[in-house]
């Protein structure tokens, strides 16, 4: 095969352009203008035609393609990164919470099982059955987790039981008995106390007075000739008013009697709470 004579670059470009063209007019014009290149044009056109037709049949060969198998480690990064970070943060948070909870529970004093009076109000002894211990939930789960981190467990306030009394129609002894029974307190009545009927204000018949032990005893004190003393340990002492007056302090310079909070203590303790 003889060495082909090199064509000028412009003619080379034109030859390829015409060879790739599908327009027969372009081809005929080229052949009219460059009749000596008709053979070269035919060669290149045939070559390109063969090249184009050598394209793999994607319909037949492509159908044999294996279905795409999702790479195990190839989940899109933006899709798996966010859940992974969320899980990591959740694990860190849970670990920190558990550690803090453990430290708090190990450093906190053991929950007290005995309720002691802390103030002037009588404390209510926890019931033996179904009662809750301080710092513990009814399920026995420590209650520290419900509080803020670092906050020491504090005893919950003892619920004050509400007791109902009839505004009219009850005697003093009936009222005291009811308060003692429902308030779970010990009320001692001195022998000279008169069992007078109680009338609380201008309440209509059938009306009720509702309050806790201390509130009801104070109301009774106002309407009955008695003085009630807090004897501590959920105990109260009911004295006839005339016997107590001897123990009352003298009025102050203003002529006003001392308030009931400054009642004579004597042997009676006002501690204890409810």
């Amino acid at each position: 095969m003889a060495k082909e004579k090199r064509l000028p670059q412009e003619l080379e470009d034109l030859l390829w352009t015409v060879a790739e063209s599908d327009d027969p007019r372009v081809r005929s014009e080229f052949e009219l203008r460059y009749p000596h290149l008709r053979g070269e044009l035919a060669t290149r056109t045939a070559m390109l035609d063969v090249l184009r037709h050598a394209k793999p049949k994607s319909g037949s060969e492509g159908s044999k393609l294996r279905p795409f198998e999702t790479p195990k480690s190839a989940r899109p990064r933006s899709l798996w990164l966010a859940p992974a970070l969320a899980v990591l943060l959740a694990a860190l948070g849970f670990g920190a919470f558990s550690l803090t909870k453990l430290l708090i529970s190990s450093s906190a004093p053991p929950p007290k099982t005995e309720v002691q009076g802390t103030g002037s109000e009588p404390s209510q002894a926890p019931p033996e059955d179904g009662g809750t211990m301080q710092g513990m939930t009814p399920d026995g789960v420590e209650d520290a987790g419900r509080r803020g981190v670092g906050e020491r467990p504090t005893p919950p306030p003892t619920p004050e039981k509400s007791i109902e009394l009839l505004a009219q129609g009850m005697s003093l002894m009936e009222a005291l008995d009811k308060i003692a029974m429902f308030g779970q307190v010990d009320i001692q009545v001195m022998p000279d106390v008169q069992n007078v009927p109680l009338v609380f204000g201008d309440s209509p018949p059938g009306a009720k007075v509702i309050g806790n032990v201390r509130q009801l005893l104070e109301m009774i004190e106002r309407v009955a000739p008695v003085r009630i003393l807090d004897n501590g340990e959920n105990a109260y002492l009911v004295l006839p008013l005339d016997k107590v007056r001897n123990l009352e302090p003298e009025p102050g310079p203003t002529g006003e009697a001392a308030p009931s909070s400054s009642r004579p203590r004597g042997p009676v303790s006002s501690s204890g709470g409810n």
Partner: protein, 191 residues
């Protein structure tokens, strides 16, 4: 079934954008649709570069694995199709380099057994295959995109990561090399 290039070109933007959005939203079936839509074209590119159906199949899998991983980073500066072609070309060229390295380590008898005709179409196709096999993989990639996938120069520029003028030059040179190889093998000696 051959893909209607005009139809694909007309609807690819909206559908591809939607498919990408669905996939990024966690819809795995969207990627199945992308695979079904482009697998044949990726296979053609891979086979044009590798000239070996088994290697082309592996390259298709690798290319789509890369696409699957990197689709969240697809910036949409180009169309999805040209981006897929870019991944396909690069993957196929990498396979070709590995294949060449593997062939170097084989005895000559074994290496000759690897040369199996892959193109249908008789003697002409065999000539094309032999001529292509004498070219470099990047030249085969250029000819494949231009003559088999009918990409425009601008599309090829995006797929190959170069300018349209550079693509024009690369097409010209690859075509010249192919012509030399083809005529050297006795193909189209009718002039």
């Amino acid at each position: 079934m051959p893909i209607d290039a005009a139809r694909v070109a007309g609807m690819s933007f909206d559908e591809d954008t939607l498919l990408v959005q669905r996939f990024l939203g966690g819809d795995a079936s969207a990627f199945d649709r992308i695979f079904d839509k482009y697998k044949d074209r990726v296979y053609v590119v891979a086979q044009g570069v590798l000239l070996n159906p088994d290697e082309a199949q592996d390259a298709v899998q690798d290319a789509f694995a890369l696409i699957y991983r990197n689709l969240p980073r697809f910036r949409r500066q180009s169309s999805l199709s040209t981006w897929i072609f870019r991944v396909a070309v690069n993957t196929a060229i990498q396979h070709a380099r590995k294949l060449k390295h593997r062939k170097r380590q084989l005895p000559l008898s074994a290496a000759s057994d690897q040369e199996a005709p892959i193109l249908d179409g008789g003697a002409d196709a065999a000539h094309v295959h032999q001529a292509l096999s004498q070219l470099r993989p990047d030249d085969r990639a250029v000819l494949t995109l231009f003559y088999w996938e009918d990409l425009s120069l601008s599309q090829m520029a995006e797929a190959l990561g170069c300018s349209a003028n550079a693509v024009k030059t690369r097409v010209y040179r690859a075509r010249e090399r192919f012509r030399e190889a083809y005529t050297g093998l006795g193909g189209s000696e009718d002039g």
